[in-house]
């Protein structure tokens, strides 16, 4: 039964983040435990908490509930050599990769926009060897976050096995000591910085999210530093009146920024629908390098902050329209 114990197979690509749980514990030990007011600005959060070379994990689902304001600010501040967990990473990874902020990526889904097709700008970035790549599946990254949130160095799973996705991952096989069966051991993923956009948070960072969590509760816990943007700041009493709704506790959080419409052009469940026109424009402009450059000049470098960006993309009028679409309210016009 145990003859396989020593015959470990392994993926051949690079493991970007050390899964050692004791090193992670040493980092978590230093995190603030007290209830401190962590409210800050997008600019300051990115400036103070994201360093060149950091490995990032972004919450949401690529074009759903993503922290757009932080992503844009990372580009605006010209952060370099970032790593990224490309976990159903769509607009977020495209913006970072096409701007040249990244040099490595754990990929489960990039380049594609689901039914909107592929992004040319993302393809240019990811087809180049300037971004070192290691492939995974969506849930293998989600399980890697889980293993990190659980303070482990690995988790056994039954995915990846037998495929080139395994070969081009950094997973290894492991034999179950009870059944002798073969599993894919996935290394825990402890991002340097997690970034999550939520519906509501208090000043300490206790967060509520409506709808699917995707992997965000684990991603948030596994991250050594965590930036929260929130549609709304709420009073701590609201958190305490419904403690079952807290999906990310304050102790994971290092910065809280209130950014209404902070996920535009993404869908924010229950709040606003995709900005389809914007995505269409973005994918069209992305077809050429010049178009991409123009997009960044106009929508990122050309604005001071996210509020100015919102005005540029259509302001309150547009937001009202996206809200109506999300709420399934027929427009009168």
């Amino acid at each position: 039964m145990y003859e396989n114990l020593l015959s470990i197979e392994g993926g051949i690509e690079e493991l970007f983040v050390d899964p050692d749980p004791d090193k992670a514990r040493a980092a978590f030990r230093k995190k603030e435990r007290g209830l401190k007011n962590k409210v800050t600005s997008v600019k300051e959060a990115v400036d103070l908490l994201i360093k060149d070379g950091d490995y990032l994990a972004v919450g949401g689902f690529g074009h759903v509930r993503i922290p757009s304001a932080i992503i844009y600010e990372i580009v605006r501040q010209g952060k370099k050599n970032l790593g990224l967990a490309g976990h159903t990473s769509i607009y977020d990874s495209d913006i970072l990769a096409s701007a040249g902020c990244m040099d490595r990526c754990d990929i489960s889904y990039v380049v594609g926009y689901e039914i909107r097709g592929l992004s040319k700008s993302a393809r240019r970035a990811f087809e180049s060897k300037k971004i070192r790549k290691t492939d995974w599946s969506n849930c293998s990254l989600a399980w890697r976050f889980w293993a990190g949130s659980a303070g482990l160095s690995f988790v056994p799973t039954r995915v990846l096995l037998g495929t080139d996705t395994f070969k081009h991952s950094a997973a290894k096989t492991i034999t179950c000591p009870f059944t002798g069966k073969k599993f894919a051991a996935l290394p825990a993923l402890y991002p340097d910085v997690g970034i999550v956009h939520v519906h509501r948070a208090d000043i300490y960072g206790n967060c509520q999210i409506d709808g699917m969590l995707v992997s965000d509760s684990h991603l948030a816990r596994a991250s050594k530093r965590l930036i929260i943007t929130t549609e709304k700041l709420i009073h701590n009493e609201e958190i305490r009146s419904n403690p079952s709704a807290t999906v990310i506790p304050y102790w994971c959080v290092d910065a809280v920024v209130e950014v209404p419409y902070g996920s535009h052009p993404a869908n924010m469940p229950g709040e606003y629908w995709f900005d389809d026109d914007f995505f269409k424009m973005f994918l069209e402009m992305g077809k050429t390098e010049e178009g991409t450059k123009k997009f960044y000049d106009e929508y990122i470098y050309g604005v001071e902050d996210f509020d100015e960006y919102l005005e540029k993309v259509g302001g309150f009028k547009k937001m009202k329209k996206l809200r109506a679409q999300e709420k399934l309210i027929e427009s009168g016009s």
Binding site: Y109, E114, R132, S137, A142, V159, L161, K182, G211
Partner: protein, 269 residues
């Protein structure tokens, strides 16, 4: 062996395009009262059509956490708010995939850029150099997870020699890998694997002994030869090859008016 008389050259009805055809045929594959994990794109439209016509109680599951929504419109993403609208549960990716991993999900419904005779799917790269490929596709997304863990994998994809290839550039998602028994040997759950492939020309299945792809039904006005010509590997034939019933007016009406009025899927021709 072919049980109906159709020859090449018969005039094709112009009243539906190949994506509409695939969506309609795909929508009939799903058993009512079963669980299906729905991939992005065409499978979403097929599942929604199935719910409206054939399998009102099918339990659609989406990888970001949505379970059994009453979809008010076609989701753009398998993680958007339509995938948990009036759902029975809005959960997490881990919960959904763990549900698949413990054997609770009957079908998964996937797309794919390339497929081989064992149903292995490539949605990662074209080219030999992984770090610098000719084309970078999205990668697995949830496909490797779902194709590994769900009991039966249904693939919907149009058919041509560039897609149906002898050897895929990269096995993103496991089909039967190198043949019978290979999945189990690799460590994948017992008894899982490819089930059907819905294309614009035919419905394909798998030979039980060899796990190789075979022709099971031909779409209206499509000949066996045409199917074979559009496939880059040798296709086996089922003992009896049927004719796929053409899309019905009802299917097309519901698809065009209710499922995808904006043409996100069926307008991509």
């Amino acid at each position: 062996m072919i049980s109906f008389p159709l020859a090449k050259g018969v005039v094709k009805m112009p009243d539906y395009n190949r994506l509409e055809l695939m969506v309609c045929v795909g929508s009939r594959m799903l058993e009512d009262h079963s669980t299906v994990e729905v991939g992005t794109g065409v499978p979403m439209a097929a599942t929604m059509l199935a719910q409206k016509l054939y399998a009102p109680s099918i339990i659609a599951i989406f990888e970001a956490g949505g379970v059994a929504p009453i979809m008010p419109g076609l989701p753009i993403s398998v993680g958007d708010s339509r995938t948990f609208h009036k759902a029975l549960m809005a959960s997490t990716m881990n919960d959904v995939m763990e549900t698949c991993q413990r054997g609770m999900v009957d079908y998964t419904f996937l797309g794919g850029a390339q497929i081989d005779m064992y149903g292995n799917l490539n949605s990662t790269i074209i080219g030999d150099n992984y770090q610098e490929p000719q084309v970078r596709f999205p990668g697995s997304g949830g496909a490797n997870d779902l194709g590994s863990l769900c009991w039966k994998t249904i693939v919907i994809t149009p058919m041509d020699k560039r897609r149906f290839v002898e050897k895929v550039n990269f096995i993103t998602t496991p089909g039967y890998l190198s043949g019978k028994g290979a999945r189990e040997k690799a460590g994948l759950p017992e008894g899982t694997g490819p089930y059907k492939v819905v294309t614009n020309l035919a419905v394909l299945g798998y030979d039980e002994q060899t796990c190789r792809m075979r022709i099971e039904s031909l779409h209206p006005n499509v000949s066996l030869e045409e199917v074979k010509e559009n496939c880059g590997f040798e296709l086996l034939e089922a003992p009896e090859i049927r004719m796929t019933p053409p899309p019905t007016n009802e299917e097309l009406r519901v698809l065009r008016e209710e499922v995808d009025p904006e043409g996100y899927i069926i307008g991509r021709q």
